[in-house]
């Protein structure tokens, strides 16, 4: 994206653009949570920026830093062929962010993903905030760094499967019967 476009944002918003830099060919702008809606609306409506296509929204959990979560919005302009990343930091104790779904409808599923996986609430949504991949009663937010890889929340009882009844088996005295007499490792009961 051209520097002229980023400078245009800085001219318009001044102090509200906390940082603007370019990394590996991506242009990034860091804003505070309170100014997010205003900046996004300007990006959408402005003729020069014309950032009308919402590419994605993701969240990174920097568990060792304060504020903990960083939301990254990626917006694209089809006519001007440039891209912009908007990053917002969110506190752990107060994970509420104004929603951008009134401006960009395509961020609906990504906001649900951030709620489901990281626990970030979005206020002012056009549709209700539901979980995306986990089921509705699930307890916890799996992609947070303090949720273990093999995390079990104990909601689904896990049964100790003894053995599945497979039928009477092959006829006696035959080669298959001899083979069936010694169980394979996968047929032995699961010892917890």
């Amino acid at each position: 994206m051209s520097e002229a476009a980023v400078r245009r944002l800085q001219d318009r918003f001044g102090e509200k653009i906390l940082r603007a830099f370019s990394e590996h060919g991506n242009d990034v702008v860091v804003v505070a949570r309170e100014d997010l809606l205003e900046v996004a609306r300007f990006c959408h409506d402005d003729e020069e920026l014309d950032l009308k296509l919402p590419t994605t929204l993701t969240c990174v959990d920097y568990i060792d830093e304060k504020p903990r979560f960083e939301l990254v919005y990626v917006l694209y302009s089809v006519r001007k062929k440039h891209r912009l990343q908007i990053r917002v930091r969110v506190e752990e104790g107060d994970p509420e962010v104004p929603s951008l779904t009134p401006i960009y409808r395509g961020l609906d599923y990504w906001e649900r993903y951030c709620w489901d996986m990281y626990g970030i609430r979005f206020t002012g949504r056009t549709k209700p905030l539901k979980r995306l991949w986990m089921w509705e009663g699930f307890d916890g937010h799996p992609l947070r760094k303090d949720f273990p890889l093999r995390g079990r929340t104990g909601q689904i009882p896990e049964l100790d499967i003894k053995d599945i009844y497979r039928g009477p088996g092959p006829g006696p005295g035959s080669e298959p019967a001899r083979r069936a007499a010694t169980p394979r490792p996968s047929q032995l009961p699961i010892v917890k």
Partner: protein, 408 residues
């Protein structure tokens, strides 16, 4: 029954003017349904046969892709990326590798770029064949599906000769590709492409001017260009609405600026345009592959930097640097420098974006895959609300929402 004994007004008027109260019906097109590709559950509110609202529920295939990637090394993430868009696995692989190479700041050799382009276009043809074939089957035409599957099977045989697997290829490494083209593959590939072209033209003859197909797909699932952009559509669905955005042309990568191809555009944004765009893209992909074969030169396929690439085995067994290089590579993972990057390639369904965060150790801190199917699925409700229930079928099929990438 009206009480005829006490009736004083005209019977016709009274009976026929009684207002009927209809209730809307809630239909559950459940997760295991032949027409819902990749276990998607629809809660449809129907008024007669007209869809009033559509609620999509996904999550039946969620396998924890991001969490698994955060707990493995960079090379170990590669098989996970296969399983995202499992119909066009090489596009996922190469997209991920392109993102990692951007982070590391390395440039892959020329021959590797050509091989990656060939692989991506090959799987693009496979993906479009699957989409068109499955869509035709669900509209009742079983023959195009068989032709498409036969063509796809032949292409998969070529892919298996190249990479070792038909579907989930795990082809490519950071710094290039791991295996060169086998001997005689180029000629076999040209023969296979000729045969696939014949089958594709058979499908074209069966479908494109077919009265039933036209009735089912023309005018259904319309999406205007502004709404499509606002939803974040990319790929053939966006191009069918008339918006000219193809990552291969807008931001060329690999060798797309050296080959000639056209990007088909639709006009109406309905299902027929999406089908026609996919058919034409198959022809253009074939053109790209043949041009790549002509332009390719022999050369290295992996960069020579042992920080990112495994050292050759004769060095590993004879020199101490080779041993150490191999050891650090396998045990600690490739040390990609710390930073963040958003990288994008054109997968068959749209712009496949990767947002990677690296903290300098051998493991990724965050791997986010911007699956094009998620936006398309989000826009499904706007495409079918107000139209009949059978219109949902070709619309949902031609979005080509692959369960693996939407639910990661």
């Amino acid at each position: 029954m009206p009480d005829t004994k006490n009736m004083t007004v005209d019977l016709q008027e009274d009976v026929l003017d009684v207002s009927l109260e209809t209730k809307s019906m809630r239909l559950n097109m459940g997760p295991s349904h032949p027409a819902s590709h990749g276990t998607v559950r629809f809660n449809i509110e129907l008024d007669g046969e007209v869809i009033r609202s559509l609620d999509v529920e996904i999550g039946f295939l969620h396998r924890g892709f991001e969490k698994s990637c955060e707990n493995s090394t960079w090379t170990q993430c590669l098989p996970y990326t296969d399983r995202l868009n499992y119909v066009s696995a090489m596009c996922n692989n190469f997209g991920f590798l392109t993102a990692v190479e951007k982070l590391a700041g390395i440039e892959i050799p020329e021959r590797a770029k050509y091989i990656r382009t060939i692989g991506a276009e090959l799987h693009r043809i496979c993906d479009h064949l699957t989409c068109v074939g499955a869509m035709a089957m669900e509209l009742g035409g079983f023959t195009p599906f068989l032709y498409a599957v036969e063509a796809r099977d032949m292409l998969w045989d070529r892919v298996a000769e190249l990479t070792g697997a038909r579907l989930t290829t795990t082809y490519g490494r950071i710094g290039g590709v791991n295996r060169d083209l086998p001997e005689g593959w180029v000629q076999k590939m040209k023969d296979t492409l000729a045969r696939v072209a014949e089958l594709r033209e058979d499908i074209n003859t069966l479908l494109t001017h077919n009265r039933i197909f036209l009735e089912r797909t023309k005018g259904t699932g319309k999406m205007s260009a502004e709404m499509a952009i606002n939803h974040g559509f990319t790929g053939p669905v966006l191009r069918a609405s008339g918006v000219d955005y193809d990552v291969r042309k807008a931001h060329p990568y690999w060798v797309y600026d050296r080959v000639e191809f056209e990007v088909p555009l639709g006009t109406e944004g309905d299902n027929y345009d999406r089908y026609a765009v996919r058919m034409e893209e198959m022809r253009q992909s074939e053109r790209i592959i043949l041009q790549c074969f002509e332009q390719m030169e022999p050369g290295p396929i992996l960069i020579d930097d042992w920080r990112y690439v495994l050292p050759p085995k004769n060095e590993v067994y004879s020199t101490i640097e080779g041993v150490i290089g191999h050891f650090k590579h396998v045990m600690e993972g490739i040390k990609i420098p710390a930073g963040t990057v958003y990288s994008y390639t054109e997968s068959p369904n749209g712009e496949l974006g990767w947002y990677l965060v690296s903290d300098g150790s051998g493991r990724p801190y965050k791997v986010h895959c911007r699956a094009p199917g998620i936006q398309l699925l989000g826009g499904l409700e706007d495409m079918v609300v107000g139209s009949l229930l059978p219109d949902l079928i070709p619309t949902f099929d031609l979005i080509n929402m692959i369960g693996g990438e939407v639910e990661q």
